[in-house]
């Protein structure tokens, strides 16, 4: 397990690293989106710490893992936008991750309450 060292408190950005995949998949499950839309979706959901480049990197990794498909839409202003969308394996992965997360969250909840 990950141990917060040197007396520092739990850093949200540290926590986020482990669940960024799940967060990105969850945002894309609501609606297809291009990179910056996903960033904004995460911020709007209450995760201001998320780094832009981390989201873009995560999107590439999920895409290369075959969990996302992408398509290009022309936009009126600026360059065209590459939209990412969940595919079958992506939805499957999301389901698994949600279950893992919920089990983990329950465990932590119990642990924290006991403390």
């Amino acid at each position: 397990m990950c141990v917060a060292e040197k007396g520092g408190g739990v850093d949200t950005s540290q926590l986020l690293k482990g669940v960024l995949d799940l967060a990105v998949l969850a945002v894309l499950d609501r609606a297809d989106g291009y990179g910056y839309e996903v960033v904004r979706g995460l911020r709007a959901a209450g995760l201001p710490e998320v780094g832009d480049a981390s989201v873009y990197g995560t999107l590439r990794r999920l895409y290369n893992a075959g969990l996302l498909t992408s398509y290009v839409m022309p936009s009126e202003e600026g360059p065209h936008r590459k939209y990412y969308s969940l595919n079958g394996p992506g939805r499957e992965r999301l389901k698994e991750s949600v279950e893992t997360w919920q089990a983990f969250a329950r465990t932590m909840e119990g642990l924290v309450k006991a403390a």
Binding site: G51, D52, A53, Y56, R60, R61, G78, R81
Partner: protein, 397 residues
């Protein structure tokens, strides 16, 4: 466009300060920091980042200079590093000074790998195993040298020749970008093809080539090939080994396609003999009658022929006339057929009557060795005349 992607962390020295410059400059910085990744992957990333920068610029609602962008996103190098770690790409190559001492060995290894690719391609095309073997050996010698200094292959990747080759890909505005993009989109198809080729090759080495077995093995090799394809998209080190093997697969695929279009492979000939009936010369010329002549070229009649075991040589009949209809004489039943002397004439199917009829041996010109060709007079056999008298020759044992 600028092409300074080989210089890590150096901002372009000469640039006219136009409006979209800050975003371009930032983009160039990111591109330079990711220069060790596969070109297609970098192009995909930069498409995303370009749109990202455009969105940010629009959001800022004011003059977006380079400092504003770095203030918002961090330096291009930091952005690239964060993206790299989130995307699971390999770490960037170390400082180029370390590689310098390996330049000669690296160059040798790269040359060997290029040679290996060519040999494997030629070996696949010509299906000459020794060429393939040589290519594989060259690759095996070169790979450890190329890969020995760890991730990013600095000694080979840092060579000026290799950098120039990588930088030579068409820029974003070049009309070739569309062609390159189209070819890149065909890549997954190629992964499937090379998987099937690998399966066919393995089946051919270890067993008889059977389509069903090839399909079965393909179920294993095609996913493997696609997996390696995805892997080499993310981690360029794989290409050093994958490209030479691609050469072999391409050669074999082209050779197989050409063999398929030219006609049935030669091995088909070996399947036909069991279906032949009657007497055949070299399995391509049916012998329907035998016309014996003596040393002077004079035709002989009433000749019986036997094989090395004393069994009668029977020309048989492949025209399908044996069962159907009977010749006019009515004497040539299957049993009596072998008792007839040569020349026998032939039995042919008559289109007009729809029945089989016996065609007597006609005039024939034969060349007897050491004798002038002579015209054999119409040797009309006398079917039936000897059908009752079975030949009783002594077998030549």
């Amino acid at each position: 466009m600028t092409s300074e992607n080989s210089v890590v962390g150096d901002a372009p020295t000469v640039r006219i300060a136009t409006d979209p410059a800050p975003a371009d400059r930032y983009l160039d910085g990111v591109r330079a920091a990711l220069a060790d990744l596969p070109a297609s992957e970098v192009a995909e990333i930069l498409d995303d980042v370009r749109a990202h920068l455009a969105d940010l610029t629009a959001e800022l609602d004011g003059p977006a200079d380079f400092d504003t962008l770095t203030g918002r996103l961090g330096s291009p190098e930091a952005y690239a590093a964060e993206l790299r770690s989130a995307a699971g790409y390999p770490a960037p190559p170390g400082p180029p000074e370390k590689a310098r001492s390996h330049t000669a060995a690296g160059r040798f290894a790269v040359a060997l790998l290029v040679l290996a690719t060519l040999f494997l391609l030629a070996g696949g095309l010509s299906e000459v195993p020794s060429l393939v073997l040589f290519g594989i050996l060259a690759g095996l010698v070169a790979l450890p040298v190329v890969l020995r200094d760890g991730p990013g292959v600095p000694s080979a990747g840092g060579l000026p020749e290799v950098r120039r080759f990588v930088a030579a890909r068409p820029g974003a505005e070049s009309p070739w970008r569309g062609v390159a993009g189209f070819l890149a989109s065909l890549q997954p198809g190629w992964w499937v093809v090379r998987g099937v080729v690998a399966s066919a090759l393995a089946v051919r080495i270890f067993a008889d080539s059977q389509v069903s077995v090839i399909v079965l093995v393909s179920l294993l090799t095609v996913p493997l090939s696609v997996w390696v394809g995805h892997l080499s998209r993310r981690d360029r080190r794989w290409l050093w080994g994958v490209v030479p093997l691609n050469g072999l697969a391409a050669g074999l695929a082209v050779a197989a396609a050409m063999a398929g279009s030219v006609g049935a492979p030669s091995s088909y000939a070996s399947y036909s003999p069991p279906s032949l009936t009657g007497l055949w010369q070299d399995s391509d010329r049916e012998i329907r009658d035998i016309r014996p002549v003596d040393a002077k070229g004079t035709p002989l009649t009433g000749v019986y022929l036997f094989d090395q075991d004393g069994r009668p040589v029977d020309t048989g009949n492949a025209s399908g006339c044996e069962d159907e209809g009977t010749p006019a004489s009515g004497t040539t039943t299957a049993a009596a057929q072998s008792a007839r002397p040569y020349p026998r004439g032939v039995v042919e199917f008559d289109d007009r009557t729809g029945r089989c009829r016996s065609v007597p041996a006609g005039p024939l010109v034969v060349a007897v060795p050491s004798a002038a060709p002579s015209v054999a007079p119409s040797a009309v056999p006398t079917p039936g005349s000897s059908s009752a008298a079975l030949p009783t020759p002594a077998p030549p044992r």
